[in-house]
Amino acid sequence: MTTPDTATRTRPPTRGRRLPGDVDMWVMILGDLFIFGGYFVTYMVFRAVSTEEFTAAQRHLSVGIGVTNTVVLLTSSLFAALAVIAVREGALRNAQRLLWATGACGALFTLIKAYEWHAEISRGYTISDEFFSFYYVLTGVHLVHVAFGLIFLGVAVRELRNPRRRRPAIVEQSVLFWHMIDLLWVVIFALLYLMR
């Protein structure tokens, strides 16, 4: 990077007057939350119909792996939030490092999830069981979102590497999407691993 971080320092936005990211990304996030809300309600309805079967199947999931993945994603969100603060303060090198750290957590989350799927399938817990159908579909769609999130983080890093660009709004948009992924995972973790 050739421009000193202090040279690109921007004035902090006036509190309460500016929407982080842009309206387009908020449309995406609110719509996505609505769609996932539909999936969650459907899961709870089916769970209420077959409570005993779902509870018995749930016991085969490793809560430890679920907690580990939750900690990994929450840590990634912390890095992402710090990256936005760094961009707003003009500390662009630091922001890039934090975005890389966010992406690394996302990759680690994916690896842990792949290991968990492999372990469950190896023990014979497949889509033949209704609970595990929901488990694979909900975590699978969430993983697709993690992949989209990693692409958006890549776009943000590319934006910061280009001296002619460096728009804070682009970083905010990708971080907003990443926070949504985190929020969705917390709900999925509670529904699939903890709800009895």
Partner: protein, 259 residues
Amino acid sequence: MTDTATTVTEDGPGKPARPERAGKREVWLFYWAFSIFYTALSVGICLLGRATPPPRPDVDALQATAWFDQHQWGIQVGFVFLLVIAGGAAISNGMIGYFMMRMSSGRTLAYAYIASMGVGAIPGFQLLLVCWLTATFRPDREPRILYLLYDLGMLSYNGSLGCFTAAYTVMALAILYDKNRIFPKWFAYVTIWQIVTEIMATQMWLYNSGAFAWNGVITLYIAVVVFGVWIICFLALFRIAARRETAQTPALYEPEGAR
């Protein structure tokens, strides 16, 4: 963008003139063709053909035969009508391709969209019509054959989603890369929801009942709501984009130096 004309009018110089709507009559013609085709498609598929909402996936051969018998006239009238107007899908895809070619993201994505939707229309539309029309025009065939046509029609119609996923992906990419702002960026995100629901719908091959069957809440009803939102947004944006087309808008295939 080159599609907003500013001319001197009776109101005085400097005031923007109203866009010359008559300049691109063919765009409006195809806009209405698009709207009418989708309306006819909804009537044929939903009200007459009974493919949406779908019949039950967990029936046996005799029940499937009885279902065809019960809905014979609706399927025949609705699906023969749809077979006649099936070319409307090509007009719709072509219209979307026209606007995608106006994007700065390039024509390759527009061609990819048209090709993906064109290929997808065969399993996702034509095969359903052919299977169910065969079943209703040949009711004397063995129940197990009619049962196969029942399953094949529905699984092909709702489960053959790879081409549509590809089409929505290139459309979302084209909008996100476009600097001419033909369609707003939020519509690319709405299109990404479509991709997700299409991926979810693949589950219907594995289940005969429940949330993931072809009549399931997740694979069908939530996907239908998302598609409804997408098509309403698309028609509104299509209308706005068509309104911007004036006599001054350059032709797509005009030589570069003539613009």
